[in-house]
């Protein structure tokens, strides 16, 4: 049995008298120590998925259907108190923008110790020592003195390191990283990504990396899940999908990467944009942008079979070219 097993997850928001769904039946499994990339455009439901796993969907949204099993226990059935014991303890999360995820009026040390104390019975001295140790692990220079610093006294890269240190503080089994490098300088991005990868490997932590950057995913993860309009459209091993995507959307995303275009050539662009969840087309949500769409695609939602949700997938040879 997988460590984390999300099945048929639906998240709904009320709109007038009816509801609209931001997630429309997502499945996901994660083994111990595995690294999974969740890829999709803005609004595909990637972050929604992360918050749903921690049972933190903001009001008035709700998980309307599905199960989220962590070591065989459905997180959706847990009381608020019990789920708090898992959040930030066994499953932690790294956010996109370290400028805003640290509380501006509390010192780094206060925020770290607080996280520890929420989950462990620990003395101040022990907590302090552990915090320094974690700050050293994320390669923060003069870790001891940083504990008294306020977030605004640190650079963006350092702050993200602090956020990572906080995420690692309780030795979690899963880290969900929601676009952890998007808000950082390009030069820092690679460093932070390498750090996350190293720490996950060293501590045998499973990683769910949410991003829209297929390049990063290709380097860091073992498996990929491609999301489009609240559904998973393709999933499989990172290597397999990068080499031979089956879903036309994945193929389009890959073609848009500079690595795959000829030098100086104009980059490929998928025509159109993702529909908002309030105005989804019938059938496959991708059909209006797809050059392989047929009448069937317009009428029926393709089921996720053999790792892709498409009636007319690219065949192996076509995809590999």
């Amino acid at each position: 049995m997988a460590m984390l097993d999300v099945s048929d997850l639906h998240v709904a928001f009320p709109r007038g008298k009816s509801e609209v769904e931001a997630l429309r039946g997502v499945n996901l499994t994660l083994e111990k120590g595995e690294r999974l990339g969740v890829v999709g455009e803005s609004g595909a439901g990637k972050s929604m998925l992360a918050f749903a796993i921690l049972n933190l969907i903001a009001e008035p949204g709700r998980v309307s259907q599905g199960r989220i099993e962590f070591h065989g226990e459905n997180l959706l059935d847990l009381s608020e108190r019990d789920i708090r014991g898992i959040r930030g303890n066994r499953i932690s999360m790294i956010f996109q923008d370290p400028m805003v995820t640290l509380n501006p009026v509390l010192t780094i040390g206060t925020q770290m110790v607080e996280t520890l104390k929420a989950h462990r019975r620990i003395t101040d001295a022990q907590a302090h020592r552990l915090c320094v140790e974690k700050l050293k692990q994320v390669a923060i220079p003069s870790a001891e003195s940083r504990l008294d610093a306020y977030p605004h006294e640190l650079s963006g890269g350092l702050r993200q390191r602090v956020v990572i240190a906080i995420a690692l503080l309780t030795d979690p089994e899963v880290i969900i990283a929601d676009e952890p490098t998007t808000a950082l300088d390009v030069t820092i991005q690679a460093e932070i990504m390498a750090l996350i990868l190293k720490l996950c490997r060293d501590n045998d932590v499973a990683l769910i990396l949410i991003t829209h950057d297929l390049g990063v995913v290709a380097e860091v993860t073992e498996r990929i899940m491609i999301m489009y309009a609240g559904l998973c459209v393709e999933t499989g091993s990172t290597r397999g999908i990068i080499r031979a995507p089956r879903h036309p959307y994945t193929a389009g995303l890959l073609k848009a990467l500079p690595q795959f275009a000829g030098r100086g050539a104009r980059l490929y662009q998928i025509p159109g944009s993702m529909p908002p969840i309030t105005a989804l087309p019938t059938g496959c949500a991708y059909h209006p942008r797809c050059d392989r769409a047929t009448a069937e695609c317009r009428s029926r939602i393709p089921p996720l079979e053999h790792g892709h949700a498409c009636f007319h997938p690219l065949d192996q040879t076509e995809a590999a070219s």
Partner: protein, 302 residues
């Protein structure tokens, strides 16, 4: 936010702030040290003599050097009563703001963070409270209290009653200020992050959101102290505040008011000047704090 050293620098470069600060400091010291400094203890009936009543200030003909600002109808030195009375006024002002703050911050924080029907309920309650004027509510409450207990009991508990009445009547100002800040803060990602860490709502509210809303709270606290002193003075002037034998600035103004047309203007005038100066200094201080602590009004100085 502004660092402490920048805050001190701004203070020292602003003459209005220094002036207001000095005046407040002097009045505060005068009130606290009244038992040491005052020429006479106006609470000690043994020191009072009816023969000394209604003496003009010492530089006037008929004045006495023992009473620099003259005496009132009971023969108490106006200067001494002002020194003691300022203390009572300040005590009531500060005490009322503490009550307002505790009530208002708690309810505002809960309303803003929880939202939904709790928010609606608390804010409608605040609306109702605000639609009844503070003075009216205080008059009703204090009149009932005075009627229910005899004068001696009332005299003993007058300070506490005034603090409670003014504190309870004015909580919506704190609650609304805090609530609106909380609404802005709770959407920020550090709150999400705190929830992801697994902190309970109570800790997120008090430990993470509240410290980020303290700037406006600090500003209205200053202005509310002035407001509370004013209300207390009004109530005392109406005879519902501090009793005559433990006068606040308001009761001093009132006690002299009866004699103003018989020529004893000093009994009312001097406490009134102190009251005006005190309120003015507090308000100037509040305005200055608002300007300094509001980054939108800062003029690129630090």
């Amino acid at each position: 936010m502004i660092s402490f050293s920048a805050f001190v620098k701004r203070f020292l470069s602003d003459p209005v702030a220094i002036g207001a600060g000095l005046v407040l400091l002097v009045l505060l010291l005068m009130a606290v040290l009244a038992p040491l400094l005052a020429p006479q203890n106006p609470y000690d009936l043994m020191q009072l003599s009816i023969m000394d009543s209604e003496m003009p200030p010492s530089w006037k003909p008929g004045g006495d050097d023992r009473f620099p600002l003259g005496t009132d109808a009971q023969g108490r030195g106006v200067l001494s009563t002002i020194m003691y009375g300022t203390g009572i006024s300040l005590l009531i002002g500060l005490g009322a703001v503490v009550v307002q703050g505790v009530l208002g911050i708690t309810l505002g924080l809960v309303a803003g963070y929880k939202g939904g029907w709790i928010d609606s309920f608390l804010m409608r309650l605040a609306d109702i409270q605000l639609s009844l004027s503070t003075l009216m509510m205080a008059i009703i409450a204090l009149a009932l209290f005075q009627a229910a207990f005899d004068a001696n009991v009332y005299a003993d508990y007058a300070i506490i009653m005034l603090i409670l009445v003014i504190g309870i009547a004015e909580w919506p100002k704190f609650a609304r200020t805090v609530r609106s800040s909380v609404l802005g803060e709770k959407k920020k990602e550090y709150v999400d992050a705190a929830r992801v860490i697994g902190l309970p709502a109570r800790k997120i509210m008090w430990g993470h959101i509240l410290p980020n809303t303290l700037t406006p709270v600090l500003v209205i606290s200053t202005i509310q102290v002035a407001e509370a002193i004013m209300i207390e003075a009004s109530l005392s002037f109406l005879g519902l505040g501090m009793p005559v034998d433990r006068p606040s600035l308001g009761s001093l103004i009132r006690s002299g008011f009866e004699f103003i047309f018989s020529g004893s203007w000093w009994i009312t005038l001097y406490p009134a000047i102190v009251l005006v100066v005190l309120i003015l200094a507090l308000n100037l201080m509040g305005d200055w704090l608002r300007d300094v602590l509001n980054p939108k009004l800062r003029r690129g100085e630090d």
